[in-house]
Symmetry: C2
Subunit: 341 residues, 2 copies
DNA sequence: CCCGAATTTGAAAGCGCTTTGGGCTTGGGT
DNA sequence: ACCCAAGCCCAAAGCGCTTTCAAATTCGGG
């Protein structure tokens, strides 16, 4: 059933039917009712493409997901973030189109998305310290919101980020307060902006007490379980083993726990651990007293907020681009305790 | 830059330019070269919506992701599956549109997708034992492929599934061979078809040795880490504690491991465990000798295969709907050993 | 040289919708 | 009784593309 048929069926013009359905004032309440009733009954939905063509709006936003062929790693964050964003889009009648793109081809894909006119706006995920995508999208003149920031980007852009620096600084401070001095730091890939900031927070907190990091106890890699396991194992076997771990991801923390327990030690007693917790739906670190002490920030909520920012931007493009910094509070769990003497 | 402009710029008609770019034979090689060169240079891309309107093809496929508001759980499978599928779509120039939909509203969304003409085909995820979506989509007459099966569905449909029954039967057989008799089974939600089949495999293997399951040692729930932890803890504290666990998800297995080690026991020695392993990119159970003994099947690959099936179906609708059953081989890890006496 | 076939190109219709610019009725004011 | 504004409604153009049908050009053979 399309507009023409529906109009014919009602003995009205397409114009009137269209207006009635889109809430224009120049149509009598009586016919509006009649029309919307018939539309309902015939399950009429305007064709998206036609509507888009006519209005210039696509009612769709794009997410470009980088896939590194090297390790075929999908960011575990991905699912929850998308789910949060998607919910918001759905509520506003927007579609979400996803493109999986190999790392190097991102610019091409962005250009195509613009040229083909598939979307009204974009979300940029996982920005690096310096990220060419941001400049490109500004030049393409298409609304976009960045989840995270790119420290070295000088031009303005809309973003939403977690205060990684302060979160990791307070986590570090807590460990120091507990008497830990040999703190290992298992970071994410430091080409990623968030990882760089976390490191800054860690080092800042140490510096405040006149301490410096031990390079042997600092790692940076993709945040898998195996990475946590292998690193912890190695460090615990080495000289001056760390008494505490600061970890960038709950998944990696699970690996650390595995190593720790394999050595017959107990987390929170023999070794302390603080991790960042993205509050992933399938990996809850919950309970009145959660298992891991953690800096927590829901990535699902971040998705919802990013989506909302983007929709606002699409509806009312403005000069001052919105930005938002979320705090990641420290929640106390059972994985931290005083440094054993 | 649009067709009209490009045509004007070349001093040709839109017709000719369109033909040249789409590889129609009735255009001289000389002008075809001239056209494609100019298109390249001006970075021309045909507008998707316009093209779609004209051809009736959208070059997009939809994934409808159920989100249960009850627990806001996103299936951890999701990311890898999407990533596999998305890669295939990208290679064929298809877009992927995602809809996050609350459990109850699925039929409405499918209807809308059809009526609005947003997609050429659909993937159905996580089918239940009896799933109304399948009948609906058949009635709507839109190409679709189901990831998994719906046992109680009698009509034909295209699907790709893992042989869950045989996988869990052989896992159970292995545990029995190792001497285990008290085997706990932590299954997924048994409204899901895959869970029902796994259970069937488990019970079948037991029955073959004249054994029956112990209801106290069988659980069914959403496959979180906490579920594994709590269940294992409870069972290990109870009477006749299990000596082995058969688990439906690696994440849940991690929870079981936590409980086991909390009791000072060692996996593979004091307690055995076999889990299903979806080979998730961020949770690899790899190595020459993987940590967990597991039935393994890459869900990322499943995504790629489903996508390919769907594209084939879109390009050449056929009467005989394709189906495909993947085996999930048992890989031996360090989490299994003979039953302690 | 001329003619019909083959080769190339174009004009225009149409995909399903929105929206501009009128047109036709009413009804109230004078 | 007449006029004008308000209230409703419609025909048609246009969004950017494909595709049908027809026209223009080229070319080989008689």
């Amino acid at each position: 059933m399309n507009l023409k048929e529906l109009a014919a069926h009602l003995g009205l013009s397409q114009t009137t039917v269209s207006r009635a359905l889109n809430g224009y004032p120049e149509v009598s309440e009586a016919t509006r009712l009649r029309v919307s009733h018939a539309a309902e009954q015939h399950n009429y939905r305007p064709n998206t493409r036609a509507k888009g063509l006519a209005t210039g709006r696509t009612m769709a936003v794009g997410h470009v997901i980088p896939t590194s062929t090297r390790h075929e790693m999908v960011n575990p964050i991905f699912g929850d973030f998308i789910s949060g964003a998607g919910e918001t889009y759905a509520r506003h009648g927007f579609d979400m189109v996803l493109s999986m793109v190999e790392d190097g081809h991102q610019p091409r894909v962005y250009r195509e998305l613009k040229a083909k006119g598939t979307v009204d706006g974009l979300i940029v995920q996982g920005p690096g310290v310096s990220d060419p995508r941001i400049g490109l999208l500004r030049d393409l003149d298409i609304p976009f919101v960045v989840h995270g920031r790119a420290s070295e980007e000088t031009r303005e852009y809309a973003w939403l980020d977690v205060n990684n620096t302060s979160a990791f600084a307070s986590a570090t401070a807590l460990l120091l307060d507990l008497g830990h001095r040999r703190i290992a730091f298992l970071n994410g890939l430091e080409a990623m902006d968030f990882a760089r900031r976390r490191r800054a927070g860690f080092e800042m907190a140490l510096a405040q007490r006149g301490l410096g990091p031990n390079p042997r106890h600092m790692r940076s890699a993709e945040m898998t379980e195996g990475y946590g396991y292998a690193s912890a194992r190695e460090m615990l076997l080495g000289a001056d083993p760390p008494t505490a771990f600061l970890v960038s991801s709950l998944i990696t923390a699970l690996g650390v726990r595995r190593a720790v327990e394999e050595f017959g030690m107990t987390l929170g007693r023999d070794v302390s651990l603080i991790t960042h917790d993205d509050d992933l739906s399938y990996l809850r670190n919950a309970g009145e007293v959660p298992y891991f002490t953690a800096t927590r920030s829901s990535v699902r909520e971040a998705g919802m907020l990013c989506a909302q920012m983007l929709l606002d931007l699409i509806h009312a493009p403005r000069e001052a681009l919105p930005t938002r910094l979320l705090e990641a509070p420290l929640v106390l769990g059972r994985s931290t305790g005083p440094c054993p003497t």
